[in-house]
Symmetry: C2
Subunit: 120 residues, 2 copies
């Protein structure tokens, strides 16, 4: 499927190689769409600290169990989180460190803007 010649190219190479295929752009936008929702962001922040079952996340966010489950599915489909069963409960956890990296970069962008003046 992929005819690329990269083994592990730094992320910045995407800039040098011109416009990537539409499919990649679509996938990228799709990934960031996941982060672009307050509920999902709260879930991710919750899981930054520790693994949690659905009930715990539901209580933490003060939302309905259904809404949480729906968003957990979205997050899991994007492989940002994983889960395992323990008896009747299901435990969710962060899948990898990209979540922390991505959110961290976003955090920096936002907080840096706070020190500057708005010259628009």
């Amino acid at each position: 499927m992929s005819t690329h010649t990269h083994d592990h190219h730094s992320a910045l190479d995407i800039a040098k190689n011109g416009m990537p295929k539409d499919e990649l752009l679509f996938d990228l936008a799709d990934l960031f769409k996941i982060f672009g929702d307050t509920t999902r962001m709260k879930i991710l922040f919750s899981l930054f600290e520790e693994e949690l079952c659905v009930r715990e996340i539901t209580d933490l966010l003060g939302m309905t169990q259904s809404a949480i489950s729906h968003q957990l599915k979205v997050l899991k489909d994007s492989r940002l989180i994983g889960n395992r069963r323990e008896g009747k409960t299901i435990i969710y956890f962060l899948a990898d460190d990209h979540v922390r990296s991505i959110v961290g970069q976003g955090y920096e962008h936002i907080t840096e803007g706070m020190h500057h003046d708005e010259n628009v």
Copy 2:
């Protein structure tokens, strides 16, 4: 609750200090929402290479000038891009390197996933 002993100082500390204020979460989600659109992602990729005026971006993406201008405004309001006037044309450019970092992390997450089995 928190039984972790991690000790990094960086933006990732946000993970340790518990759930941040709702306002920050909202701002973060809002920032990522910007990246969660194919048109805006294409614009950003275009600007990875070089500064471009509105007409050039419009031609590159093959969309209407109005649609592009609307999205350029969204990107500029989020301070992801900047612009300057040169005669009648207005040149747009990336505002800082957070854009590259954030998109790069997302790119890595996606491409790494390609080596694994796809279970959706």
